[in-house]
């Protein structure tokens, strides 16, 4: 996933520690921060993150991004009920593994720093 659209292997490797990675642009870091903030429970996008997002994205773009992230949450969580595992679609390629849960504070902190 993502390789065809231009996501590099370095980015895939660093996605769990994107805050300190040099392989992501500021815009990409903001998107990842938003994904993190919307995926944690309770979901909370801080004023600081929203202000930073507004500098990079229009409101229409933020709607699209939020919708995509929300739907990905639904899809991924749906699979957990049935314990759907990997099916080998990326066999032989580098694949990031699921992250351990982060605390809400760490993601929000990263968001305000980016």
């Amino acid at each position: 996933m993502g390789r065809k659209s231009g996501i590099s292997e370095d980015q895939l490797r660093d996605i769990s520690r994107f805050e300190s990675s040099e392989h992501f642009s500021e815009q990409e870091k903001l998107v990842l921060s938003l994904a993190g903030a919307l995926t944690l429970t309770p979901a909370n996008v801080s004023d600081g993150l929203y202000a930073a997002l507004c500098k990079q994205f229009s409101e229409r773009q933020l709607v699209e991004l939020s919708a995509v992230i929300a739907w990905e949450n639904a899809r991924a969580r749906f699979n957990r009920t049935f314990n759907v595992g990997a099916e080998g679609f990326s066999e032989g390629q580098f694949c990031p593994m699921p992250e351990h849960a982060k605390t809400a504070s760490s993601v929000q902190q990263a968001a305000t720093h980016s």
Binding site: S5, T39, W71, R75, R77
Partner: protein, 136 residues
């Protein structure tokens, strides 16, 4: 149709519609032939990696081909043609054909070209899936 307005899928949708497919079938055909279509984006069960080979057991086998209705079978056909096999997540969704169809519409929205660059959307999806625990 609202889907005609979706960038990236509209022309393909109309092509398949003119080829005699129903709205639903046109939508699915457009979806699976979309160049920006993300396999993992459309089939929630598309997980990826080698856990399968390590004996990972899911709790359901989903709907099999001989149990599926015509629309579901068509979706399976397209999935198999595009991906080589029908992902388990798609088979499980097929227990509720109504959900399967609506989920595909949202999948199409996610995968279509929009006002946000595709790679940014994919980054966000990847991050989300990793945090939720959906294996790749």
């Amino acid at each position: 149709m609202v889907f005609r307005a979706l960038k990236g899928g509209g022309f393909r949708f109309m092509f398949f519609e003119q080829a005699g497919l129903s709205n639903e079938q046109s939508l699915l055909a457009a979806l699976f032939t979309c160049p920006h279509f993300m396999p993992s984006a459309i089939t929630s069960g598309l997980a990826r990696s080698s856990l399968l080979a390590e004996g990972h057991m899911s709790r359901s086998e989903g709907i099999q081909n001989n149990q599926a209705g015509p629309v579901t079978r068509f979706i399976f056909f397209l999935a198999k043609r595009y991906l080589g096999r029908v992902p388990l997540g798609t088979r499980i969704r097929a227990f509720d054909p109504k959900f399967l169809r609506h989920a595909l519409r949202l999948d199409l929205y996610s995968a279509s070209k929009g006002v946000v660059p595709v790679h940014l959307k994919e980054l966000a999806q990847l991050k989300t899936a990793l945090m939720v625990g959906c294996p790749f």
